[in-house]
Structure formats: structure tokens, C-alpha cells
């Protein structure tokens, strides 16, 4: 099969998964879970450093927007829509793998999708991938203000900027060349881990084509 380039420019990818949650107790429990997660420190997600953001929202099924007051309210379908939306760097497969393989994350996800119908848990991996893929919605439009930057790029640039400002302040006054050289080298050494090139490179084809995970292509 010929490789089709992905249709979004840039280093990050969107993913939207909408799962059904039963109204009534399901809705109540989901709101409790979301409330708890809202107040939990989620250090692991930050440590992973490839997730721009991840968000779970409950949309009540009978409160969906209508085009006009004449349009009937959707209240025959006994489900709410549970929306998971995220932006991430790297391949889909790797993202979901990290979800399932890291125990702390996996436990959290089991809780977050607990009320979603048909959810069997984030392990075994293959079931989880199929579940996510089944409820995943295709993205037709995606806006990315900084297509050339990943979470790590942004993080590195922010650190670099802080150090740079400190260096500029430090060397504002007149000093001899040797002293400036010493301070300059110390500054460069300090920031050297964050000097990788970022931005979009037109010839950087590695990002344009992604292999479909075997679980989904077979």
C-alpha cells in the first residue's frame, strides 16, 4: 500500500475519542471521577513530556446544541458523550503504549474510562488499542499555532530563554574580554543540553509519514 502523508502539518497530532456513558448513575459517577482528577497532581503526565494536553469532558446527551428551538431534544438515546481530546508528539502507537505500560497512568485511565460502555481496561494492550481506535473520531480540522515545536522543544526554549536573560543581565556592565569569555563559556555549557534545532524543516520527511500500527492495519 502506498504511504500517504499525514494531512496535518507539524510535530503534534490531535486525537479525539468519544465514548458513550450511560445517563443516570453513569453520569453522576463520571462527574465525581472528573472532579477527583481535577484536583489530583498528575506529575507522571508532565514527566512523559510528549503530551501537550489531555482532557476529559462529559457532554450531557440531552443538552447537545440545536440549530433552532424547533429541533427536537436528543433524549431517546440513554447515553452521554464522554469526550477525550488530546494533542501529542510522536506516533499514535507509542502514545497508547505509554498509557497502558506505565502502571500509574494505566490505573488512572482505568478510573477515567470506568463508566464508558464496553471499556475493559487499559490492559491487555491490544484490547485497549482496539477500544480507543473504535471510538476515535477522524479529525477534519486542526489548528496548530506552533507547528514546529514539540512539548520538549517548548520546554527547552523556555529554559534557554531564562538562562539567556540571566546571562545578559550578568554581562551588562563593562568587563574585560577574558572575563566575558569565561562567563560566556559557562553560559553555553549551562544551556548546552537544550540547543537542538527546532522548527519545521521542509525536507524533514521523517515526520510526514507514519506507519499504521499492526493492530489497526491487519
Amino acid at each position: 500500500m502506498p504511504l500517504v502523508p499525514i494531512h496535518f502539518k507539524g510535530k503534534s497530532n490531535p486525537m479525539t475519542v468519544i465514548t458513550p456513558v450511560k445517563r443516570g448513575w453513569g453520569r453522576f459517577l463520571t462527574k465525581v471521577i472528573l472532579f477527583i482528577f481535577h484536583h489530583l497532581p498528575l506529575g507522571v503526565v508532565k514527566e512523559l513530556a510528549f503530551i501537550h494536553f489531555a482532557r476529559w469532558i462529559l457532554i450531557e446527551g440531552n443538552k447537545l446544541p440545536r440549530l433552532s428551538p424547533d429541533q427536537p431534544v436528543e433524549d431517546k438515546w440513554p447515553y452521554d458523550l464522554y469526550l477525550f481530546t488530546t494533542n501529542f508528539n510522536g506516533p499514535w502507537d507509542q502514545y497508547i503504549d505509554a498509557f497502558g505500560r506505565i502502571h500509574a497512568v494505566s490505573k488512572g485511565l482505568n478510573m477515567l474510562w470506568y463508566t464508558s460502555r464496553g471499556f475493559e481496561g487499559s490492559w491487555p494492550m491490544r484490547h485497549f488499542k482496539r477500544y480507543i481506535h473504535y471510538f476515535e473520531n477522524e479529525q477534519h480540522l486542526y489548528y496548530n499555532a506552533y507547528p514546529g515545536a514539540t512539548v520538549r522543544d517548548i520546554d527547552a526554549s523556555t529554559r534557554l530563554n531564562t538562562e539567556l536573560e540571566a546571562f545578559l543581565a550578568d554581562t551588562e556592565n563593562e568587563m574585560d574580554d577574558a572575563e566575558f569569555g569565561r562567563r560566556y563559556r559557562a553560559f553555553v555549557n549551562q544551556v548546552s543540553p537544550w540547543l537542538g534545532k527546532s522548527g519545521l524543516e521542509p525536507e524533514h520527511e521523517a515526520l510526514l509519514h507514519r506507519a499504521r500500527p499492526l493492530e489497526l492495519s491487519q
Binding site: 500500500m1 502506498p2 504511504l3 510535530k11 514527566e47 512523559l48 510528549f50 508528539n89 510522536g90 506516533p91 502507537d93 507509542q94 503504549d97 505509554a98 497502558g100 505500560r101 506505565i102 502502571h103 491487555p124 494492550m125 491490544r126 514539540t150 520538549r152 522543544d153 520546554d155 527547552a156 563559556r185 559557562a186 553555553v188 555549557n189 549551562q190 548546552s192 543540553p193 537544550w194 540547543l195 537542538g196 534545532k197 527546532s198 522548527g199 524543516e201 525536507e203 524533514h204 520527511e205 521523517a206 515526520l207 510526514l208 509519514h209 507514519r210 506507519a211 499504521r212 500500527p213 499492526l214 493492530e215 492495519s217 491487519q218
Partner: protein, 471 residues
């Protein structure tokens, strides 16, 4: 039979590796005009050398074989079987060039001719104890091919092991960087073949250092399913494999790439950088690689295998962008994760060099002429896209996971003209930052393909006229 017991009589010898006991080899790339000729060829090659043979019989000449997708199609196998082959394998390496970063000098249009038009159906790897034994085998085989209708050798490649020796200097400027003890080398003068994963039930060498790191911080071996089909993998699942099970079981997918190494360019480049940075060329080289020439890791280590990266999150000791750290990042993502995020992307490397070692002071032209020198890079993995292609795309030709932005692997990455590698300095250690700019294309892919390496029994079943999954 439980899935942890592997019948080593059914697994091809290349899983164990032929190492220095069979240092001379020749690869044949063959095609067959129809299924009848294909089966005659398979029957002629039977029985292949198994993993078990390498430990017990220890034959003088070992023979292993693997099919391309065109090769399996040419055998007129059942459609269900053919369509159960994974997409990456069916595409072949040429079509996946954009994923693998095979562009510029490595682009498929510059590959050797044999890799066009699906000419190669079967890879036959012959590994011998001596040159004479290899020549005898070669003569008998080419004679047989010449008189067999419908079978042709479209290409061949001589390969051999190279070992370091004090008589053949491989350092650039610093004599002391020459390995003291004899070690297996590749052409840039670094120790080769020490980063392979130990596989449960097959190979329990170097579990400490070679294996995976659990979140508790323990070293562990790899479940066989990461590399051999029909066994459980690190996710506790059977890897997705072609059907039926008897066809796939104990087989694997093999990636073969001919990687030409430009030794002159490599040495000149490093000399240039060394004079620009007022540094030691051999030191820069080993920081690009991530190990010293004799295999000693840059990280503090118990031995050449047992070390971790999590104590060095900024890459000040071993640069994040170095070749070793990119291709096996161990616990670089943080001690609390162990190697959880790495385990699904490990590969079993069974490469062998071609060409003679180029001693310092000589040009590669003088030593190897037009044929050049390099590596026949061979990877065994359960999933080409999840393992080999992932490493190639995300770790080698991109730097995000290592906080290196777009920077690529300095040794094997596809360079786009103005690429750099930053070797971070360390104020505490009094060592300055080195930026190696204008990285050159030291390694060029000359071709290759994706192969299916069947088990010994599946290979024999394919030869049968009466059975063997035929259409």
C-alpha cells in the same frame, strides 16, 4: 509445550549469531521464475543450520535463508497466508523509504540495481569457518544454480568479521584510543555487536546490562515474542503474525540493509572538527558514538554492559544525541519508568561487516578499491514497523525524545546539509561544550529489503509439492 520453551532445532542459527567461529561469509540474493523452481531451490538448501546445530554439530559451513514478499508470492502460496503478512513487510523497504529516512545519497533511486523490480526473492546467508570451505560451498552451489532451470543468482556479497589488532591502527590522532585487547570492530574503529538483548529461553548472556529495566530497577531478559513469532512478548501477548501459526511460529522478520561507510570522510571530518574545537578527534568520535573504541561506556559502568542513563538526564556524561543512547536509550526517560518506554522498540542486531579494515594513514581506495567497506546490517524483530522502523524514524532521524529537537543521529542519520550534534559541556567537570556542525553523510544505504525468516520446519514445508500452504 509452554510458550517459554523454544525448540532451538526449529530456529535458524542467525538468532544465535555466527560470531567469530564462522568469520567468513557470502550472501546470495536469488530469484526463481516460478514456484517449481523456487521449491527446487528450497529443497537444495535443506536442511538449514539451526540454533541448536551451532551449539552441538558446529558445522563447517552454516546456511540460513529468508524470503522477500515477492519470494513468498512467487511460491504461489495460499491467498489467506499472503494477505495475513503485515503491511510493512508487503510494502518492502523501498516503498518505506520515507519512513526510514532513505533520502539524498541513500534514496532508493541510488540503490544497487538488484533491489529494483522485486528481483530478489531469497536471501541465502552462508557463513564459513575458513575461506577455502566457503569457496568449495560457493562452487558447488553456483554449479547447481547454473544447471537448474528458472533459478538465478542476481547478486552476491562477501562478508567477513574484522577484529582489532595493534598492527592495524584505527585511531584518528590519539594512539591510546586504539583498543588494547582484540575486539570485534566495525569500520569506523569501534567495537561492534555488544548491544543485543538477551532473549528468554534462547540467550541468557548479559541480562544485566543488555536486558530491560523494570520500574523497580531490576534487569530482566526479553520475552521471546519481541523477536520470534509464536511466543509471548513484553505486553504478554502473542505478536501479530502471519497465518497459519505453523508458518509463522519460530520465524521472524528480518531487515537487511547494505550500509556503506565512508571511512576517509569520517576521519577527515573529525580532524576538521578537532582543529576547529581545539579538541581530540578520537574523543569527539567516541562522544558521537557513546562508547570508547574498545566498547567502554561513557557512563560510569560495572562492565561494558551494565550501566544506566537516568543519572545523566541532560546528557553531560554521555550525550543524549550519541548513537548508542539513541538506539538503546535504556532508562533515559527517567528511573521511575525503567525501560518501559523502550522495550517495545528493541531490535536484535545480527550485522556483519564487508571489506577490509582501513588502517590510519591509508585511504579506503587503497585498501578496498571501488567495492568500499561497510556493514551488512541485519535486524531481527517481530514487527518491522514497531521495532526497526520506529528506531529509524523516531530515534535515528529525529531527536525529540532526547531533547535534541530535529537533530539526527550523527553516525547513521540522514543528514540534510547543515545538521549538527551538540556535545554538552559540564561546568563542574571543567569541560566545554562542543558543537559538531555540518555533519556529513558518513553512512549511506546502498539497498536492502524486508525478509521473512521462516523456522526450519516452515522452510521445509514450503519445499513440499503436496502440502505447504499452496494455492
Amino acid at each position: 509445550m509452554s510458550s517459554t520453551t523454544i525448540n532451538t532445532k526449529d530456529v535458524q542459527g542467525i538468532f544465535k549469531g555466527f560470531g567469530l567461529a564462522w568469520p567468513k561469509g557470502r550472501f546470495f540474493f536469488l530469484r526463481y521464475d516460478d514456484d517449481k523452481a523456487g521449491r527446487a531451490l528450497i529443497r537444495h538448501l535443506m536442511p538449514l543450520t539451526s540454533f541448536h546445530d551451532l551449539k552441538s554439530v558446529k558445522p563447517n559451513v552454516c546456511v540460513n535463508a529468508a524470503f522477500t514478499c515477492a519470494g513468498l508470492e512467487g511460491l504461489k502460496l495460499d491467498n489467506d497466508l499472503l494477505y495475513s503478512l503485515p503491511e510493512d513487510f508487503r510494502d518492502g523497504m523501498r516503498r518505506r523509504a520515507k519512513i526510514n529516512g532513505d533520502a539524498g545519497a541513500s534514496a532508493p533511486e541510488h540503490w544497487e540495481d538488484i533491489w529494483s523490480d522485486h528481483q530478489v526473492h531469497l536471501w541465502v546467508g552462508v557463513y564459513s569457518r575458513t575461506d577455502t570451505l566457503l569457496k568449495d560451498w560457493d562452487k558447488a552451489f553456483t554449479t547447481w544454480v547454473a544447471k537448474t532451470k528458472g533459478v538465478a543468482i542476481v547478486g552476491s556479497q562477501d562478508v567477513s568479521r574484522i577484529v582489532s589488532s595493534p598492527d592495524v591502527p584505527v585511531y584518528i590522532e590519539d594512539k591510546t584510543s586504539q583498543p588494547e585487547k582484540p575486539v570485534l570492530l566495525e569500520h569506523f574503529g569501534f567495537r561492534d555487536g555488544i548491544g543485543n538483548p538477551p532473549i528468554k529461553g534462547l540467550n541468557d548472556k548479559h541480562i544485566t546490562g543488555g536486558g530491560r529495566i523494570t520500574p523497580e530497577g531490576e534487569w530482566a531478559d526479553f520475552p521471546a515474542g519481541e523477536f520470534i513469532l509464536g511466543h509471548v512478548d513484553t505486553n504478554g501477548e502473542m505478536p501479530i503474525a502471519p497465518k497459519p501459526d505453523a508458518f509463522a511460529r519460530n520465524g521472524s522478520f528480518m531487515v537487511l540493509r547494505k550500509l556503506a561507510q565512508d571511512v576517509d570522510l569520517w576521519r577527515d571530518y573529525l580532524k576538521g572538527q578537532a582543529s576547529k574545537l581545539n579538541a581530540d578527534a578520537d574523543d569527539i568520535a567516541s562522544r558521537m558514538v557513546g562508547r570508547r573504541r574498545d566498547g567502554t561506556p561513557l557512563m560510569p559502568a560495572h562492565d561494558d554492559f551494565d550501566f544506566r542513563y537516568s543519572s545523566d538526564p541532560e546528557g553531560r556524561v554521555c550525550p543524549m544525541g550519541s548513537h548508542m543512547r539513541r538506539t538503546n536509550p535504556r532508562d533515559s526517560s527517567g528511573a521511575s519508568f525503567g525501560s518501559l518506554l523502550v522495550d517495545r522498540h528493541r531490535i536484535l542486531r545480527r550485522a556483519i561487516t564487508y571489506g577490509e579494515l582501513v588502517p590510519t594513514g591509508k585511504t579506503q581506495e587503497e585498501v578496498n578499491g571501488e567495492d568500499g567497506q561497510g556493514l551488512m546490517f541485519i535486524v531481527l524483530n517481530a514487527s518491522i514497523s514497531r521495532q526497526f522502523e520506529f528506531v529509524q524514524q523516531q530515534w535515528v532521524n529525529y531527536g525529540n525524545e532526547f531533547n535534541q529537537g530535529n537533530d539526527r543521529d550523527p553516525i547513521i542519520g540522514t543528514q540534510c546539509g547543515e545538521d549538527q550534534m551538540v556535545i554538552p559541556g559540564d561546568n563542574a567537570a571543567g569541560r566545554d561544550t562542543m558543537v559538531c556542525d555540518n555533519l556529513q553523510q558518513f553512512v549511506v544505504c546502498k539497498g536492502g529489503d524486508y525478509f521473512f525468516l521462516p523456522s526450519i520446519s516452515a522452510f521445509e514445508a514450503l519445499a513440499s509439492d503436496s502440502q505447504g500452504w499452496r494455492r
